[in-house]
Amino acid sequence: MESLLMNILGAVTTFLLAFAVGMTYGGLRRKIVARVQNRYGPPFYQNFIDAFKLYSKSTAIHHGAMHFLGPAFIMVSSVVSLMFIPVLTNNQWFPNLNFQGDLIFLIYIMVFGPLGMALGAGQTGNPNSAIGVTRGLSQMVGFEIPWVMALIALMVQYKTTSITGLLDIQVQSGHWFMFENPFAFSAAILASLGMFRYSPFDIVGAPTELASGPMSENGGKFLFVMMSSGSVFAFVKLTLIVDLFMGGASNLIILVIKTFLLYMIPVTYGIVSPRYRTEQSITYFWGWPLFFGLIAIIYAVFF
């Protein structure tokens, strides 16, 4: 009984941490982008203000039930994924619902959000949303393959399908998988560029093409939910990669450093890149990332 309470409390703490870190990273990103663009940019806490404002806005948009569920799906997807990820290597405050095979589960649950989104966006009737969703799904096909291949490589190499298991191996051996299987790491990083949907892979929202795509019809609280789940999801992705390839983090400071450095890769690449077209984006993922993924599996199998 007590442990369940602790677990729930821990889950809430995890969520809040993920939310705060994700939002702050978003704010810092805006700040960094601004500096490269020769300007000051907003304060780093701007995202919190934006989120709160969105939350306080009225929402008088009615496109049917699925439209309401879209953001909810995304939120659920992010929170559930978060629950399966060990935030720190050994800390009871951030318990995770680990079980054998959770990595495979995670692969699916991470896709769940965008799918829900697709359902919601489809119902708005806005063609921009529909096209955005189509693009999103196509792109997902693009980056999921190298991503899954990188994960498979790890699973094959270390014979476990548990994230905690993989993390434990790294902690115990002291070797990070990014050095153990650099190909898997490369594939994962390149694929994660797509997951973050920053330039050049921001083809889903693509303001100048689709007027923010699936989000077109979502304002106010919907957007707040999407924004916060996006922040949480960013944290999930970063922590996952840290856990899988960079040996996890034993305390929050190390976690922040590692995730932030990791986060800088899509951010900096995004600053200087125009957007890919959908098929170009898929071609991209099926190029080097896929190649690295294949190598990674081969490496995992044969070495």
């Binding site: 300007r39 709160f52 306080s56």
Partner: protein
């Protein structure tokens, strides 16, 4: 000690503080003044410092910039866009044209007074207003929001008949072709 009214008041203060520092501007260049909006938003003047940033669709936006004159054809779209925006929403009128017709006061295709058709929260003088003036306009809007008196949307709802009547006077055909979402 705290009754509901006081609580509401405190919540309002916090809400207004958030709203005033997060103004998402709808990317809709309705007229000439739109040329100074990029200048305001980009590196030299950087309105994002003040929490002002662009929003791609009306659903996400808080502020509608009427950048100058409005032709009747655009007015129809602007009203549509305004009604799609979510409360609280604000309108900033740019330059002379929104106040009394400006240069085009005698044109058969442009309206003269914006406030007959939409509630306007802040007017900025100029033809067109330069970025400093635009920033000043945002500043004024923030001030009004902070005080909780930027309630154009409220007015619009309360006086909908008045606005509708004026709108219908100039917009002859109220239907939208192929608009189905």
């Amino acid at each position: 000690m705290y009754n509901d009214k006081n609580k509401q008041k405190i919540v309002d203060i916090i809400k207004n503080a958030a709203r005033k520092h997060s103004l998402w501007v709808l990317a809709y260049g309705t007229g000439c003044g739109a040329i100074e909006v990029p200048a305001t938003m980009t590196s030299r003047y950087d309105a994002e410092r003040l929490g002002v940033r662009g929003a791609a669709t009306p659903r996400q936006a808080d502020v509608l910039l009427i950048t100058g004159y409005l032709t009747v054809k655009t007015l129809k779209r602007v009203i549509r866009v305004y009604e799609q925006m979510q409360d609280p929403k604000y309108v900033i009128g740019f330059g002379s044209c929104t106040i009394n017709g400006g240069m085009y006061f005698d044109s058969y295709n442009t309206i003269n007074q914006l406030d007959l058709y939409l509630p306007v929260d802040v007017y900025i003088s100029g033809c067109m207003p330069r970025p400093e003036a635009v920033l000043e306009g945002f500043g004024k809007l923030q001030e009004l929001i902070g005080k909780g008196i930027a309630n154009g949307a409220q007015q619009y709802k309360e006086n909908l008949d008045f606005y509708r009547e004026n709108q219908k006077k100039v917009i002859k055909n109220w239907d939208f072709q192929d608009y189905n979402w």
